[in-house]
Symmetry: D2
Subunit: 483 residues, 4 copies
């Protein structure tokens, strides 16, 4: 048995709507605002009350639906959609969601954001019972579990199945006559409910997708909940009450869009406060100005600048056009290629001592190049400030953060890191300040203020199942081989 | 005779290099940083000293060169490249540059940024002499002029031809053994020279393209100059000395990249100063914060905020993914569609009085939607501030700014405009402040500090030739019909 | 429950090889010679002894593998390939074969030529047990059956499964270390074994595929046989001995290539003999010449001419280029469009009395146009002769011959048909003469000389399972509704 | 100066119509029946009386117009179309016809079948006068010549220009209000006029295109004629009376479709008679049967069989599906690859002495493989008979027949050729018998019965201009270098 651990990770955005005209077009607009959550594939399944219709392909949403006819064919008043971040190697079209499964007793479509931690175990068990899988995605497992116990009826079979899968998950299921959403017992991934003026409901990964389609925010989906939407309206059910909020802090730190509101907290505001607390914890007394790494770190940088009483300047420019990465030039050209994403503004940084605020350091290669870029543009001093704690442990709940061996902070002290990246000084935000900056109002008495901070302290809020033995053990032995 | 005036307008970015290995790949990287100057088509012509090789197509650079082989086939140590902004209607592949003309006595490739104001007249004259044109682009005219007087020798024929064409132009010409650049007598369009460590030269539309390829800035190209680069190095020549700098102020206002330096002025710094002067001229006493329209107005907004002593906030988010515009939804969906580009951050603007800084108002439709977006997100007051004077007259020198009938400020007072877009107050920067903010050091005693500000005051620095009779006259009669 | 009967029909060509370098390229060449058996989709799965690799798509083989890299990536020394005839409506890429199923205990690829008559029943039973199907093809059923009884071991599970499926089938299965072929108990579809000089074996739908790859014919696969090829060579096994040869007569009549040899009979020779016997049974005393409908009826026409002592002429020309059928012109143009496939040679038929030999009449529309074409070209008399008996009943074993309601001979007498198509006379071959013309040496004492002639007499050699109730009953009531 | 001679050769089919609804669709159907004349590119230009519309691309007609919208956009009641045979190297889309040239005083479209023998000379002269060419095709020259003398008026300028170009040509020109056809003074290429029931006219390369669109044959176009079609109907004019019919005999031998009638002779009948005369001149006393190489040699083979009193058999099968040629297998596979086009029918030829009739031998490689194919299938004796004289000299009038160095018969005796290809005997038709077999009724007292037979005897009916010095001289020295 040799599943590749990495291949199972997926990050995604999901969108579902029930009871509106041209549901697939609305879904297209909604997915567009969730495109930052996944750029490798996109798809939509619609229902006209009788049949389900599917279109999906690899690529950006606008590439997938480059021919409008492919969208027009998805008729009906209900739809679910998906944008997918796929790690290389399992980038087959068979893995692009939503999945659509056809049965003689009624079709089911499925879209998923998250990562199951017992996927391998369940898959082997199912295959040993005769199951035939069509994708390498762990998402498909849910359908097999449901169908194994179809005699219970759909909703009860779904509830029982949700109690078998472990990890982080936000599922959307579409049948010809209903839309169902389900969130894992820790609420690792965000999911919110909105409503249109006509009363129809919509379920989305982030609230920014509500704004674009003109829906009003109703409430977040909570851990263990099942949201059932049909012609009778919306009903909240539970498949478990053994829940404890532990929302992924990386959503606030860099993954979600700044205008989204997750569990009552505007992401931009959380980031700005991370920047303020960072300025208190990690001042840079000699600095002339603060600059942010566009786009995800601009909020934190402006917070740092305000707190520090320093000017906030535009010292780095991001090229908004994406270059193909295939072009592998000679070594000489490759170093120039690095500059295709970011440019330093010489007229701003020349001769200055600058604080650069970034959201995180993963492998450290980008940070090193960033420092060099600023020095090449004439910066006198470069003080790197990171608006989150050092990343030392991987995420098993749905964000592809690479393995531990690749995480720079897992293997180096802050002092070493500073030296390697070539900065004058380097400082990180502390875990307590991170929790304070976010301050989830819904947290109740959940640990860490309702956040998962395991990426920083290694204390995962759940057992890790498949990863426990095969993976973490190998981490301890530091014998990781990667392709 | 019925050429469509609009169809001749083109905005572009050009890049040329001579004497480096893999010249076409370098050109690819350079064009990538100029992509903001044109997204409708791209192409490269290379020379290996014997033959010229061409590849071009419609679309973004990364789409055009999606198959790396198309780039690899462009062998050689010299190349010119082009990214093109094409108005609809003449978007044929035959109009995508660089053009490559094959002759029994040696091929010539040509790339152009600008607009000729006597193109129609010249084209008719040439056709009447037997010329056969292959594109509807005015760029092709230069080749016909050169070939008509080929007996003079290439450089002298080119010089004579450059004295026949009128308007704004920056030309790059590539032959098997030389690269030539030429700028119009007013220097309407920017063009700069860089140099590699190995001594090879590069000519670019904006200096941001020098940084990405690792070249050092040498000097700007000046009006009337001819830059000839061959195996003997670089030589500056002139085809005319009757010159007067009148660089397009729109390059500073919104078109160029903020990290580019044009005639000694960093674009970001100019914009920031426009924001500062705007804050002085058009204060907003009741405002709580300043926000900018991403991305082009962020520099000016931060300048405004600093001058006004107000917090600079991220109240608007730009979706970095481009949606296909073809999707024409129902009226209901269309208004939502507007929100696909920009989102207001409710958590920032709710209950606040905000100053929104934008770089310009063309038709006013975007401004109106912007104001509505902010009000929908809960903004208490919306004070629109524009970091340039009211746009009243079209550009005939290479920027496609629509016709005068479409320019909101050409037909409405500022008070009317404020009412139409729905803002609480509206204020523009004055022309003198614009000139002060930019302050071109190279200007000498040129009028308007070496800038073209005709878009604001209608005083064009040159005769308008083809546009004089047919076009401007019709403008005065306001009888414009457009398709 | 509402499966569409038509949608399950499939006609195909299959090719499998084990133990040669570049097995996928060999498979490509082999499939090319089987392209006449299916033009809607093509695919290849290869094995390098460790892993299986798949590529498939809709379209002709040369379109599917238009990029040679897609073929090169299919490394290894074993492969199976498939060309598919798909009826409209189920033309999804998910239905293009070979299918590749990945399991934690070893992958299985599958290619199929035929039609299962109990597919709906089996599929419902499997779904009720929890099976999740990924295609609408009945081929996938075999894998589910095998996996349900995987504890038996692969070969025994396969044998047991082959006893559960009914109808006409020729299966190829590829695992990392073996290639298996299986034929139904009546041998409805042809399948032959070949061998290379190096000893490696190949299994093909028709022997014409052996010639193109340079393999020598070994033997045909017989009903009920299982052919297992691995590193130990070839082994013939049986999953049942309750067999009776009833090979599809339509393979000889029009489907197979004339150079193929099926159960010892060269297809061209069988057709020529059909023509000779037709000339005896259905002479045309006033005729000046004999012409055939290209390409499938040329053999029979030359046989008719020889027997009748008439000149064999080229009176009809087939356009070898395929026109898109999408172009739906006005009524006036549509009738011209008919002529795009076939042209009459005026210089041959003008003023002459001609015998036209065709292989069969399905709906009669082509025959009618053919007669008109010849009359327009000046033919004096047109005597239509069909080298097979009247088609009255559909095929349920793998050839998509339309439903009975569409079969002209099912609803009209020969005299009526002659009148409708506008011929001077019309004559068909008798069933006994068809059997005599083919004379399968391997037939033993099987009924009808080892042939299925149910299309002509309605006496199917097996029960029809799913089709028995739902379909044939409806045929009797002549209440067929088709989309 | 170094034009490649080979690159100028082009073979094509042309179709023009004036005065019918949906002219472009009719042109599509007409071109489909001319597809055998060129498979490398296709295009159509239509006129709606005001504007001309163009679409063209590389590939087969059905590939070029795969999207029906591209055809629908070509509105209007007049159109010209072109299918193109392009030699490698100049296969740019810029060379695909019809060409469309836009002028301020009216557009002109142009389609050409033929080859100009003074193209290089004219092109250099024109370039020296300032002309800028957009293609490497010699066709474009005509437009430049016309425009140089545009003051004469269009028809007179065209007439004068037609007297300047030399070689073989059939031109179609479309303007917004007229369609003009012109044929060279020797009528090297066929061109015929047809008429619809509504009186509208059509001009085509071969009469088979009349049948498919439902037009009646009116007359052939004769050497030196100008056919002018406009709203006033059809008018025949002349640009020269110094004419002498010398139609290309290769059209009858292998190029034209068998159902076409050229100057009164049905191509199939001419070929059958070539076969009969070949049987008389080159009998094969020991033969058991006659087989033809499909498809072009089947007519001649049946003629040979009838004359010889031998059975005509189908011993070779042509695969009707075209394989991509890019797939370059190992040497072992390559020899199998040869068999992808043709297959021998073992059941027919095994143990037999066969006469194989082919239309011609160019390089001899195909003949060699053919003989081997038949021997591999068990043929006892192989007697190769060629239904035309030995090909020793290239065509300069429009058929790409390779250079003389590649023509097997230019460098070997018949006895040598027989040995090289491995046949038992080899025999060719004589030139007088070729002329007798065709017997053009329109020939009058023109030499060689109105045919060009220079490919066999080297006596070209015109001076060869560009080819005289540079090319034929080099042939005499047998110093040809090709790429």
């Amino acid at each position: 048995m040799s599943y590749e651990i990495k291949g199972l990770n997926e990050e995604c955005g999901i969108f579902g709507v029930f009871g509106v005209p041209e549901a697939s077009k609305l879904t297209y607009f909604g997915l567009h605002s969730l495109q930052h959550r996944g750029q490798e594939g996109a798809g939509i399944v619609s229902s006209d009350g009788e049949k389900l219709y599917q279109y999906r392909n690899r690529g950006l949403l606008a590439e997938v639906f480059a021919d409008e006819n492919d969208l027009n064919r998805l008729t009906g008043t209900a739809a679910i959609g998906h944008v997918r971040y796929g790690t290389s190697g399992n980038n087959s079209i068979a893995n692009v969601q939503p999945f659509l499964f056809r049965f003689h007793d009624g079709d089911i479509a499925l879209a998923h954001n998250g990562n199951l931690t017992n996927a391998q175990t369940l898959k082997c068990e199912l295959e040993d019972k005769g199951a035939v899988f069509q994708s390498t995605s762990d998402t498909e497992i849910l359908i097999h579990l449901i169908r194994q116990k179809k005699n219970l009826g759909f909703i009860d079979a779904l509830k029982a199945s949700l109690n078998e899968v472990k990890g982080g998950f936000a599922f959307l299921l579409l049948r010809k006559d209903c839309l169902v959403a389900a969130l894992d017992p820790n609420g690792f991934r965000p999911m919110s409910i909105g409503q249109f003026d006509n009363g129809a409901y919509v379920v989305v990964s982030e609230t920014c997708a509500l704004d674009v389609v003109g829906a009003k925010f109703v409430r977040d989906v909570f851990p263990g909940e099942l949201v059932i939407i049909d012609k009778n309206g919306l009903r909240i059910d539970h498949y478990t009450t053994d829940t404890k909020l532990a929302i992924c802090s990386m959503e606030y730190i860099y993954f979600a869009r700044p205008d989204s509101i997750i569990h009552g907290v505007t992401v931009h505001n959380a980031r700005k406060k991370m920047g303020r607390l960072l300025a208190k914890e990690q001042p840079a007394p000699t600095a002339d100005m603060v600059i942010g790494v566009p786009n995800s770190s601009l909020s934190a940088a402006s917070g740092y600048a305000e707190e520090a009483g320093l000017p906030y300047e535009m010292g780095l420019i991001k090229n908004q056009y994406i270059a193909r990465t295939f072009i592998q030039p000679t070594q000489e050209l490759r170093e120039r290629g690095v500059k295709m994403k970011l440019s330093a503004v010489r007229g701003v940084v020349e001769g200055k001592s600058v604080v650069v605020v970034d959201d995180s350091i993963v492998r450290g290669t980008t940070s090193k190049q960033l420092v060099q870029l600023l020095r090449d543009a004439g910066a006198k001093e470069v003080h790197m400030r990171i608006a989150s704690p050092p990343l030392k442990f991987p995420c098993f709940y749905g964000i592809d953060m690479s393995t531990r061996a690749e995480l720079m902070a897992a293997n180096h002290s802050v002092a070493d890191m500073c030296k390697i990246i070539g900065a004058d000084t380097l400082g990180f935000l502390s875990i307590p300040s991170l929790i304070t900056a976010i301050s989830v109002p819904d947290a109740g008495n959940a640990p860490n203020g309702g956040l998962t901070v395991a990426y920083f302290d290694g204390k995962y809020p759940t057992p890790l199942y498949d990863y426990e033995e095969g993976y973490l053990k190998s981490l301890k032995q530091t014998q990781i081989q990667e392709g």
